[in-house]
Amino acid sequence: MKLMLKQVFGSGKFVIGFVIFLAILLTVVIYPIFVPDAPLKIISRGTFLSPGIYVNLYDSIDSATRYTLITDDAEARRVAGRLSDEDRAKMREWLIGNGVDEAEIDGADTAQLLDLWELNFDPTVRLPGMTNADRNYYIRLTASLEGLLSTEGATIASTNPETGALEQSDIVNQTDYVHVNEVANSRLFILGTDNFGRDVLTELISATGVSLTIGFVAGIVATSIGLVLGLVSGYVGGMVDQVIVFIMNLFTVIPTFVLLILISFSIGQESRGAFTIAVVIGLTSWVWTSRAVRAQVISLRNRDHVNLSKLSGHSIAYILAMDILPYIASYVVMALILQISSGILAEAGLSILGLGPRTTEVPTLGLMLNWAMIYQAHILNKWWAYLPIILVIALISFSMNLMNTGLDQVFNPALRD
């Protein structure tokens, strides 16, 4: 046993796979301790918020401590942020189209450009070739230019409830800064939010956990069925074998995924829990395990050590458990790993087709992908809504396959160097 573990962990492939898998597992376990939010809690009004830090605007203006930073480029950056070179060129184009002398316009001189703009721009004028989209753009631009060059602070005013008049309550100077950590309300969304306005990272980690559980349940169901049928079929032989082989052939001929789709569909959305889906995946994917186990058992059942065990008066159950099972145990473990990984993929596949677990009770990796696809995240370039999920699926599958290849190298004499 100890030697076996030593051998297993001597395999570089297995160790890499194991470390990746362990890292995923640990993240799934540890993350919720630090971020106890419910994974399906809707936290954003608006969908697909991009990854990054969000600082509460209200609180940042209201912040008690203000820092005056005399940064030379602050103004230039503000101007550039609201009036890009592209904007300048567009303004110039409009002004020229509206009859302003081209020579008069100095695109680089912001003050002069703004003056000209204020003087000439009329939102109701539509120049030849100008679309409504352009018009909307110019209107938005004009709105954003207001007070661009003002060197004074922005005035914050509120209505006096008694008089109903607007009263100045504060001035935010252009040199005022707030330290992000001192803003009471700031949130970091490493992976932004999804179509429901949920935190993708929290959801992803929870989904990984659920998907792994689905994989484990599916893998264990599939491997148990496959193992029992394979053992019985291979060892007992005769009629029993023929019946079981017939069932196996039946399941081999019917494409498993199609079967899976049909079963999932007929169960109906209402009763498709994550656990049900896992069991269904398990119930449809045991065939190759049972085939492989059967083949192994057939090659084992006439071995001398089995004969010796028989001669020692052991029962069939004892022989299966003690003389056959240990010999195929490593194989079964490898099959289990592959079944787990394929279970996770099967769930993802089903969910993408909209046949996964009952939606939005728990997140799964497949469901997240499904939602991202329905909401066209891929077309709208909301990469954070699908790429990390694909990556996690790939990583899980990669780590499991690495572990499997590693084990294979340790246990399969034909591959041993």
Partner: protein, 604 residues
């Protein structure tokens, strides 16, 4: 001539090449500068061109209704959802009611003629109605209770006679009036030819694909297959007469590529391969703000379009959902729901909020909004997200958490509901999720459930039995904008007339019943006095917001109308100065067809 094997093979090859090249030829040769491309209307290939049939799957040519599609077939009048008025198309001038409001008279424009050159006559209108009744088409079946007959007084004068109540008043003048802007006029001669062809067999009559159909509209079939539908302009169109448009519509071709799904349609819109998009594009503003594409909507800012219908969550009042007969429970749920989040997330802000347009039974169009007294019901109009208010209502009603499990009980029984909408209807699902979240906030257990559409519609439209478990709160549509609105929508939402029907497609699926409401719904169509109407509508809104049999979750436009101005411009937009204003209905429905005459090329 003796065919050698070689000749046969060669001929086959030529035929094959011809077959495969033809459609490519048809599309490739469409000049971009003369073609207006659409998406989001046509899914799957066209079945036929029979305007009597409801099974044409021909979204570009045939769609009768409140905002009838008038590219190929035409209605006497065009409805304009922006001002609620109708404008004559085939008809000459406004229609006129007699004093008893039992007969509606209009005449046909002298210039109007069919594609075969013959004039459109009053007899065509009369015969169209007679045919609808004879073959029991959806139009016939839907109006036969309200329209007694349509007769031609002379070549150009049409009289629509309303069905009368025992007291001699019209059953429903509103529906009679709506007929003339909702239904096509179809040529009598062609109809008779078709009848002859099918030997007056009703099934064959409706199943005929009518490739030879005679039409009066500006466009007709150019090419269709399973990947596209193309209409071409009829340059002999009567409407170029000064008595109607005075010109031909600008694009020579109207083309609709049949996309696999929304995603493909969106991609095409982004690429400028689609000019007018009737698709829900989530976060549509990103198309111009982020991607910088020349794409715009009717309104430059959220909600981007004009809301017309009110997708609504119904409470199951048929008795099978414990506690929903309790007004406190219904009200608590309704006011706790975070509508701004629904609008932001499910609709990506493409709906007015309930702050902007307070909830009532009216859609956000100015015409409907003017129909009730907002001040009178202001106290009842909740904007949502009122968790504390909801809790207070429940506490006051004695519905509290007695066993400490975090969920409230009514008479010792935990309040537990399932909120349902069809699977795959992603925006509805997102909305239902938010409804469920509200339950958790106020201590009422609401979980979501998304059955397949077929299951959902079978269950919800079956009114002769209580709704089963799992349909405690469920989402359905409401009527949009049209000449009978908001009356028709209110009827859909509140009338008890459909309860007990084996298959109820009309409305009030939750099983609400209020005789006062029923009486008002009954009375409104005959009322013409505006003040009286306003009073009645206000009463209805008051009762609706008091009883809360259902609650509107969002406003939704009649059509999503997003345009890409890479090739064409001068699409309708808010404040574009058109008079009457052209509504954002993809330039094909009701008065929006007027927009086709205003289009200009960006680069002529």
């Amino acid at each position: 001539m003796k065919f050698t094997r070689f000749t046969i093979v060669a001929l086959l090859l030529v035929a094959l090449v011809a077959v495969s090249v033809a459609p490519a030829f048809a599309q490739d040769t469409l000049p971009r500068n003369e073609t207006l491309y659409f998406n989001g209307q046509q899914w799957g290939s066209v079945v036929g061109w029979n305007p009597y049939s409801s099974n044409n799957n021909n979204a570009m040519a045939i769609s009768q209704g409140d905002n009838a599609r008038v590219l190929m077939f035409e209605t006497p009048y065009l409805y304009n959802m922006l001002d609620g008025q109708v404008y004559p198309l085939l008809a000459d001038g406004p229609f006129a009611w007699n004093d008893e409001r039992t007969e509606l008279t209009f005449s046909i424009k002298p210039a109007a003629h069919w594609s075969d050159g013959t004039p459109v006559t009053a007899a065509d209108v009369a015969y169209t109605w007679a045919t609808h009744v004879k073959y029991s088409t959806p139009t016939g079946a839907g109006n036969v209770d309200y329209i007694d007959d349509i007769v031609a007084l002379d070549d150009s004068t049409v009289v629509v006679k309303a069905k009368l109540n025992d007291d001699g008043t019209a059953v429903n003048p509103l529906i009679v009036q709506a007929y003339v802007s909702s239904n096509y006029v179809i040529q009598m001669a062609w109809t008779q030819a078709l009848e002859e062809r099918v030997a007056e067999d009703a099934t064959a009559f409706l199943a005929d694909t009518a490739e030879d159909v005679v039409f009066s509209g500006p466009y007709y079939k150019f090419f269709t297959d399973d990947s596209k539908v193309i209409l071409v302009r009829d340059d002999n169109y009567w409407g170029q007469d000064a008595s109607m448009w005075g010109s031909l519509p600008v694009p020579k071709y109207l083309a609709h590529t049949i996309f696999k799904d929304n995603a493909a349609g969106t991609t095409a819109l982004q690429a400028g391969e689609v000019d007018v998009s009737q698709q829900f594009n989530s976060n549509v503003q990103d198309l111009w703000l982020v991607d910088g594409l020349p794409i715009s909507t009717y309104l430059p800012e959220a909600p981007y379009g004009i809301g017309a219908s009110l997708p609504t969550a119904f409470f199951n009042l048929t008795g099978s959902s414990f506690g929903l007969d309790n007004l406190a429970v219904r009200k608590a749920i309704a006011i706790a729901v975070d509508y701004p989040t629904i609008i932001a997330n499910a609709m990506t802000n493409q709906s007015a909020t309930f702050d902007q347009v307070p909830r009532s039974l009216m859609n956000p169009t100015p015409g409907e909004q003017a129909l009730y007294d907002q001040a009178a019901v202001a106290d009842l109009q909740w904007a949502g997200n009122d968790i504390e208010g909801a809790k207070a209502i429940l506490d006051e009603a004695g519905i509290v958490d007695t066993d400490g499990d975090g969920w409230r009980e009514l008479d010792g029984q935990k309040l537990s509901y399932i909120a349902t909408c069809p699977n795959g209807w992603s925006d509805w699902q997102a909305a239902i999720e938010v409804v469920a979240a509200a339950g958790a906030e106020i201590g009422i257990d609401i979980t979501t459930n998304f059955p397949e559409w077929s299951v959902y519609q079978t269950v919800v439209t079956k009114s002769d039995a209580p709704l089963p478990e799992g349909y405690d709160i469920f989402m359905m549509w409401s009527a949009g904008a049209g000449p009978t609105q908001p009356w028709g929508r209110i009827r859909n939402l509140l009338s008890s007339e459909w309860l007990g029907m084996a298959s109820n497609w009309s409305g009030n699926w939750g099983g609400y019943s209020n005789s006062e409401v029923d009486a008002l719904i009954q009375a409104i169509p005959s009322v013409t006095d505006e003040a009286e109407l306003k009073d009645m509508y206000t009463q209805l809104v008051d009762m609706y917001l008091t009883d809360i049999p259902s609650f509107t979750l969002m406003y939704r436009p009649q059509s999503f109308h997003t345009v890409n101005e890479s090739v064409w411009t001068n699409f309708p937009y808010d404040g574009d100065g058109t008079e009457p204003p052209v509504p954002p209905l993809d330039l094909m429905d009701g008065w929006s067809v007027a927009g086709l005459y205003n289009l200009e090329l960006v680069n002529p």
